[in-house]
């Protein structure tokens, strides 16, 4: 139920507060009623036809670095 997927904004229809997003090439119209200031190229989290939030590229990078930090450990021998 609470699943949401990151999708890239490809065009914005300001008059209707909608956007077309692309998810691996599949295009879908979604509502921008819940987010302000989305621009083409942003990644939005999509849930039941609405964008819930913008994904922060900086924070995503930090989390990946956090993973890498955990990965500083050597893999145990198989």
């Amino acid at each position: 139920m609470c699943l949401a997927i990151p999708a890239e904004v490809v065009s914005i229809d300001e008059a209707n507060d909608n956007a077309v997003v692309s998810l691996g090439g599949i295009k879908k119209q979604i509502s921008l009623a819940l987010v302000d200031g989305a621009v083409v190229g942003d990644y939005l989290l999509i849930h039941v036809g609405y964008a819930l939030n913008r994904i922060s590229p900086d924070e995503a990078q930090k989390t990946l670095e956090l993973f890498a930090e955990a990965g500083m450990l050597e893999l145990p021998p198989k």
Binding site: C2, G49, A60
Partner: protein, 378 residues
Amino acid sequence: MKYIDEFRDQQTARRIAAAIKQAAQAERHYRLMEFCGGHTHAIFRYGIQDLMPANVEFVHGPGCPVCVLPAARIDEAMQLAEQHDVILCIYGDMMRVPAGSRRSLMQAKADGADIRMIYSTQDALQIARDNLDRQVVFFAIGFETTTPATAVAIKQAAAAGLENFSVFCNHVLTPAALGAILNAPEPVTIDAFLGPSHVSTIIGSRPYERLAKEYGKPIVVAGFEPLDVMQSALMAIRLVNDGSHEVKNEYSRAVTRDGNSKAQTFMTEIFELRDSFEWRGLGVIADSALQIRSEFSTFDAEKRFVIETHAISDVKGCACPEILRGQKKPVECKLFGTVCTPANPMGSCMVSSEGACAAYWSYGRHRVCQDVNKPHEP
């Protein structure tokens, strides 16, 4: 795909697993409750459980809106479709849940009720615009992730004077459910929580701070991708080791401390707290759900239609209530994998793809069950 593939990398998963093995102290047993069905699903789909050391256990939480909705509410929605002749718009997850006399909305639809599966509340509004001579009711369920979409629809219907549209509201609140788990008469032992993922994009991580402090449990807001779940487990284990009762946010690319204020404004404008609401498994919880404010009562299906309420008991032997409280694992239910399967579900936890029973079944855990059920050889 961006923001998906890099959070599913197998090599990184092995390394985080190694870090978890190192962080988990041999003399302790860690019970981590993942709140959301989305987490449970990730744990089994990606085999995360099997990457954990034996002393790290996932306890499955109640965060599956389909699972926690009592059968009586489904019966009430069915009444709307069958006795009031409305077009009932529902999210697909609700279709197959058995309600009174084990009849589902799918069965009601087969028997002639006008029940339509929708993807978005925008679709429900469109159905209302296209059928001005019919009453259209949206059967709204879900946690805070899904609530703003309902609020937007009601606001748009009010603005457009779309008088044939109304909402049967069943939206529930996650902090209340977390509180109920911790407050239960026989609470299960939980060392830390993996906190809601997309719910938190809306409400932020702040609402958990009070709970973490009051009950002395660390909470790590965790994304739904497998590496998110593993990293959050690692963070939770470290917090438990440190005796810390903090809230940490692993899912910072989508969750902030304050959440989405625009969505929150929509919710407060349209909804107010319901005095009490019954949850499957958790019982009646005060201030745990939302109802439509009186200013928008013309869009409230509970006000527009006379709905009879009947108590409905769950199928005998179904352990959904205990499973939702984290007291039992699906394999401990007598019905699991025998009479109750996704093709013929007895309880809601087997219906919803996010339900713990469906996750165990879909990813092969029923084999564990068969081993458990085998008579012991002397």
